[in-house]
Amino acid sequence: MTMTRLTRGAWAAPGTSLEFKTGNWRSTERPVHAHAKAPCHAACPAGEDQQAWFAKLQEGQPQQAWRALVHANPLPAITGRVCPHPCETACNRAALDGALAIHNVERWLGDEAVARGWAYPVDTPAPDAPRVAIVGAGPGGLSAAYHCVRLGLNAALFEAAPEAGGLLRSAIPPTRLPRDTLDAELGRLLALPGITLNLRARLGRDVTLDGLRDAFGAVILSPGCELPKPWSVRGAVPADLHDGLHLLRDFMDHGALPDAARGDVIVHGGGNTAMDICRIMKRAGANRVTLITASALPGPNTARDDLINVVPRELEEALEEGIEVIEHATVSRLIMKGSRVTGVEIVSLRKEPGPDGRKRRVEFEGTERVLPVDMVVPCVGEQVSPDGFEGVLDGAYFWPDDAWGRLREDGVFAIGDARGNRGTVAAAIGDGRLAAQAVAARLLGGDAPVADLRPERGVAGLNTAYYPAMRRTAVAKLPVAKRGFETEIEGGLSRAEAMAEAERCLSCGNCLACDNCWTMCPDSAVIKTVEAATDGSHYVFDLDYCKGCGLCAQECPTGYIQMVAETG
């Protein structure tokens, strides 16, 4: 090193401050990139990373977005219609100017893929790749089959019904899920090489679990819930009692309802099936349809675990259509005139914590009242039909040990509604993916999948000052008077609307490449680079100069930059 000599008048050469490493001043904290989960992703039962595929849309690449989407969920055209979208409930944008219309954009992407024939991003499995048996071709089974193929396995589906689809076909009315949409998306999935579909193959009748276990590397059980749960009311029940699920199937098969359905109807339950049957009966001419539910309608003070478990949009439409709802109540007794029901006694209840801390339903004595009715429809849920599962079922459902659906029987996995605590198409799809991952690890070697324990980036972790106000795109709906039994009630988004909606995504927890850190660093300690940034962002920190002020983290809109304690 040459000796510094005093220049005339002590002038200094440009940019020589780089010799002075101000990173030495950083004493307590330094910035890091922390890729946290977006709340939508954390809330999605199907395991979609909505933030990731919205990023592709923001880049103007719908096909890439769809490919990112189907990395988790192969049926977006379907879930984009039937999902209760907890992602939107969780969306941080709700605190600004309304949650993103994730659900609608998903549907648009799904429809776009079908219309344009975008190929699923999967390779054909080797012919000698291990084979997996999947019982049930409902959403869970289809998802499991798809993910098996995606991961390099061959999948054989065994379906008792003459068509694939499970409850998508049997329990969701065309007004919510048009049949051509259903057929198109299922058809594309089932056409994937590596998937074989065996129809009219009922477990216990046509195949056995033991037989499948012998013939296949692994068995994934996705039978769904076909049996109505027993209805516990005191006293007699009418002879012609129809449970909601069967009533719905009959109506979709034959297009007719019992005569009594023209009068005053009470539906007892709180799920999507109850909601669907309420609306169909109302549209079919019922004088008055009242839903009795133990849960509560959405409201500012409604606890999450108390909220009625239906698609919010469906509830909204039901109320538009004149369905009445009595919340926090249950049917305790039927009042009969002969074999005909003329009234129901209902009683108020709430979920209250018990001695073990778990909540249970408590009926309040003295709140009983009687409603006159012409028909009562129990719709309190379904359970697994036990045929063929003797010894594997634990009561009405399967209760696997982990998220991947592993049952005690080696190589057997259970997914979807049959798990007893699922209840949505998206959850079944998510289960299918997880089970396929575990199966793939088992059959192809490799590490067993582990849970993604990254934190969730809530709205408090964002800097929302940087997002311009943009109103949520509203979709068109059929007016109440025009709603029938076939035409889809909810409209879709245009491409422009979908792209505009994508612009609303806050990119919670991920790098937006917005340049804020680069722009806001007083010390030029943020270097903009795509090549050198190995974490998917566009920036690296130059810790030689970072003084640890924390401005970048504070001004990062998405919470992608976090200050962590300086080590060493």
Binding site: L6, R8, G9, A10, W11, A12, A13, P14
Partner: protein, 391 residues
């Protein structure tokens, strides 16, 4: 070419011949005529320069500093209070080693308010780090102004050309004005190696910590030492070109064998010369030392110039209250190292425009002959005008 010119006009024309890129000035008597004349030259198209009419002397100095740092040949002029208002910038200009030229039309500094000539202003900034050259006549002022640009640019030190306000600036006399061709031959275009330039960016005016400040001052002092030789050489070069020298560091005239010497700066030298000529025979002769370079201070040349004197009278045109004369004190200090240093009498004269008559010469000679003469006095003060306690 010989012309009868007012001093201010002559200086303006000399400055114009140096072709400055930037001139900035604020009006203050008696400097005002210089910049008025420069403005007129600009207005008539005879001088192509950026003439910046600033809102204060402070800005005048700052503008020429900024301009010179950017590679412009820059000039300003001021006087009196203006020098003091500039003073902060003057230290800055010198410390940054920026070459530029400033005329100071020397004048008293208030209070009390005096618009008249003495040299209090230049003395007040003698430690700013500038070269100070004092002129005894308008001819010297013109020639020194042209020389000053070359000295400044060769040494990268600013040069203050001091000329007595009114006594020179407002006096018309016969001046041999150099021709433009002569000036062009003498003064090459300014090429400042450290000029601010976006193609070669430098940072000027850094913060210098205690580890370097002493070296900064040392280098400045060393540059001043080197400037002594530059001043002499430039004057010699100028003399070669024009036949006129302006007095190098200092000039000795009068009677070389005299035992009494009188040292002075500025226009009073001429009056002393007249006094010697008219009264020398009867009052006694003297060796006259015209000090031109006050900074850098020519200690060695001064010791040679006073060799053999019994008494040296040093004329000050300003005082440092509580000490006495300023030039006198400095002369005394540098003569300390002589084996046979003359007795130094230090007299302030002509403060605040007091007219210095020719008769001052015999009075000074008489003082030199008086062994009881005070070492310092305000020589022409009428003590009867004072309150008793101030006499």
């Amino acid at each position: 070419m010989r012309e009868a010119l007012e001093g201010s006009l002559a200086i303006a024309r000399a400055v114009a011949m140096a072709k400055p890129d930037v001139v900035a000035a604020y009006p203050i008597t008696p400097q005002t005529h210089i910049v008025e004349n420069l403005s007129k030259l600009v207005a008539e198209g005879d001088l192509h320069t950026e003439f910046v009419s600033v809102e204060s002397e402070f800005s005048a100095a700052s503008v020429v500093l900024g301009a010179a740092a950017t590679g412009a040949r820059a000039y300003t002029a001021t006087a009196s209070q203006g020098v003091l208002l500039m003073s902060e910038v003057l230290f800055n200009i010198a410390g940054l080693r920026i070459p530029l030229v400033m005329t100071v039309a020397n004048r008293a500094v208030g209070a009390p308010l005096s618009i008249w000539n003495d040299q209090s202003d230049a003395m007040a900034v003698r430690d700013a780090g500038w070269i100070h050259l004092h002129c005894a006549s308008n001819q010297e002022a013109v020639d020194t102004t042209i020389q000053a640009f070359r000295i400044a640019e060769a040494t990268e030190l600013p040069v203050m050309v001091c000329m007595d306000g009114f006594v020179l600036t407002h006096t018309m006399e016969v001046i041999d004005m150099p021709g433009q061709a002569q000036v062009d031959a003498f003064l090459p275009p300014f090429a400042f190696s450290r000029a601010l330039d976006s193609a070669d960016p430098r940072t000027v005016g850094t913060l210098v910590d205690p580890g370097w400040f002493a070296e900064m001052r040392h280098s400045h002092h060393a540059a001043m030492g080197r400037a002594l030789g530059v001043i002499e050489k430039v004057d010699a070069d100028f003399a070669k070109l024009t036949g006129r020298a302006s007095g190098g560091l200092l000039t000795v005239t009068g009677d070389p064998d005299a035992r009494v010497g009188i040292l002075a700066m500025g226009s009073v030298v001429g009056t002393l010369e007249a006094g010697l000529a008219d009264f020398g025979t009867e009052a006694g002769t003297a060796r006259l030392i015209k000090l031109r370079a006050f900074r850098p201070f020519p200690a060695r040349a001064l010791r040679e110039a006073v060799a053999g004197l019994d008494t040296l009278i040093v004329i000050d045109r300003a005082i440092s209250p509580g000490l006495g004369g300023i030039v006198g004190s400095e002369v005394s200090a540098v003569l300390q190292s002589m084996t046979a240093a003359p007795r130094v009498l230090n007299y302030a004269l002509g403060l605040g425009g007091r007219d210095i008559p020719e008769s001052v010469y015999p009075a000074l000679i008489a003082a030199a002959a008086n062994p009881l003469a005070p070492r310092f006095a305000v020589f022409d003060a009428d003590l009867d005008k004072l309150m008793p306690e101030d006499r």
